[in-house]
Amino acid sequence: MTLSTHTLTVGTRLTRPVVTNLTRSALVQYAGASGDYNPLHTDEVYAREIAGNETVMAHGMLTMGLTATALTGVVGEGALTRYGGRFLGSVWPGDSLTVSIEVTDVQSRDDGRHVRIELTTVNQHGVPVFSGSAEAVV
């Protein structure tokens, strides 16, 4: 659900669910859609026996894409002018992610309200896995 963008003012803080109980099939779904079939993300045998991980790990770009969907729900479709961040930790099947969003700047210009957002996506333990910023015209 898109929030009324008029309510986005400096200091606005929101929390939005990103994904609940991430499944291995969701990783396969993202691999098929994006074209990144790296077996670290798609192949349990490889992930365990060759990479030495407990299981497959989510693509960082899946975390970023899921976070973008939550962000789009706040600023609206086609509103972003910038979006980026750092991958801070691994995301695994079974994880549930939440993004915290804070509006840090709003400028009214001829083409709309330019909103700057700082955001952090955390897992169910509160550990940050992605942190960055976005700019949107709303």
């Binding site: 770009m61 894409g65 972003l80 002018t81």
Partner: protein, 153 residues
């Protein structure tokens, strides 16, 4: 992978599949404006892309054995991680666009990890231009090369 001039059409089915994969549930009318990270689909159009299996060729992932390529059965000397990703949207990509992706190296730098290892960072900048040659999206990936035994922090 640095590849220049990759052309890909933004098709409705691909947009729908990608939107679903990042948690959207497109309506019956499908997707009009593609999701913000959609340009990752470029990977589908890179000839011989390393992270896509190719029929008749060895694949790093498992089959009869845990890996189909012996080079991956030994511990790599270094690991390359996707550390950061940034997008600049000059206009939003829509179904029906035909994009041409051009990749070039960006900045590079080094810093020391907490463990005292040297971490080598490099930017990979990809511009996605539309049919008129106007850049719609600029994607900047930051990769970090971590030496054997190190971590990315």
């Amino acid at each position: 992978m640095n590849v220049d001039g990759v052309v890909f059409p933004v098709e409705s089915v691909q947009a729908m599949l990608f939107a679903r994969a990042v948690g959207q549930e497109p309506s019956d009318g499908g997707v009009t404006v593609v999701p913000p990270t959609f340009t990752e689909v470029r990977q589908q159009f890179i000839p011989g892309y390393a992270w896509r299996p190719h029929h008749g060729q060895p694949w790093v992932g498992s089959g009869a054995s845990a890996s189909g390529t012996p080079t991956h059965e030994s511990t790599p000397a270094e690991v390359v991680l996707h550390a950061e990703q940034h997008f600049e949207y000059r206009r939003h990509v829509r179904v029906g666009d035909v994009l041409t992706a051009s990749t070039r190296p960006g900045r590079s730098w080094e810093k020391s990890s907490r463990q005292g290892h040297t971490l080598a960072f490099r930017e990979i900048v990809t511009e996605f231009a539309d049919e008129r040659g106007e850049v719609a999206v600029i994607s900047t990936a930051v990769e970090v090369t971590v030496p054997a035994g190190g971590s990315g922090t």
